[in-house]
Symmetry: C2
Subunit: 158 residues, 2 copies
């Protein structure tokens, strides 16, 4: 890997919506076992536009991973213990797949547009490998887990 080739910054992988969903779920996990938590409270604590959170929580509720209750003192709670929800689950739920390319999705597998025949695509095997490693990691951490923060400094590249 020679050369100081210039870097760009775009093509973010986890959308805002997915990230909001993760934070909302973390919030619910933190309050698991207590009464329903109101949307407004989550929005405020997690810095998420309330109206948008509406969409996200309804969706999670339709998925059945969150229970909702209307009316006074209503709100949301996890429908499942936080120990039974992995980050992999959440990401698959919100974005359909952990794969970097369509053809490397184990579940939602489909042909990549404008690609070669799959038998001739040399990138696919690598992307499947990446997907599997990613899944392994993301499915190994649960909403109930405490996650240690590492200092994270720019020593390695990328």
């Amino acid at each position: 890997m020679p050369g100081p080739w210039r870097l760009r910054h775009d093509e973010i992988v986890l959308s805002q919506k997915t990230r909001y969903a993760i934070r909302a779920m973390q919030h619910l996990a933190d309050n698991y076992g207590q009464g329903p938590i109101q949307l407004a409270q989550i929005a405020e604590a997690q810095n998420i536009p309330a109206k948008f959170l509406t969409t996200i929580l309804s969706e999670l509720s339709r998925f059945g991973i969150v229970d909702s209750q209307r009316g006074k003192d209503g709100g949301y709670r996890l429908a499942v213990s936080p120990i039974d929800i992995t980050y992999g689950d959440l990401i698959r739920l919100m974005r359909g797949s952990l794969a970097l390319v369509p053809c490397a999705s184990r579940f939602a597998h489909e042909k990549c547009k404008n690609c070669l025949e799959e038998g001739d695509c040399r990138t696919r095997a690598l992307m499947l490998e990446v997907r599997d490693r990613t899944a392994e990691l993301l499915d190994g951490v649960r909403l109930s887990d405490h996650i240690d923060l590492v200092p994270a400094q720019a020593d390695s590249e990328g």
Copy 2:
């Protein structure tokens, strides 16, 4: 991970452009050491819209990873041996980072929009881990490597 929660399919990670770039580079790698390869030939062989490939190859050329030559019998060739170019290099070049979220990029690190303070973000450590594992894999495979295709069937999920 209980429940048959419905899956979606969107938010693809490697853009068309990045995938085209990878295939174009593979093509050049296959013809490394031979004369310059013309854009039209690459476009045809790799099923890439020729005019769009123009943009991509010019870019790669500006990055210095590809050499170009104009005029009759001109074309493109790798400026660097395929053994010295990893898939990680290519992806970083085209999309700036291997990270799933902005705050987990080692190089192009920046704060995620509308997130909590980094010290309070519990997702970050996990995403850094994912980034590192991905980088490890992608930097371990070179354009010169033959990649074995595995049958890849939907046994595990996601």
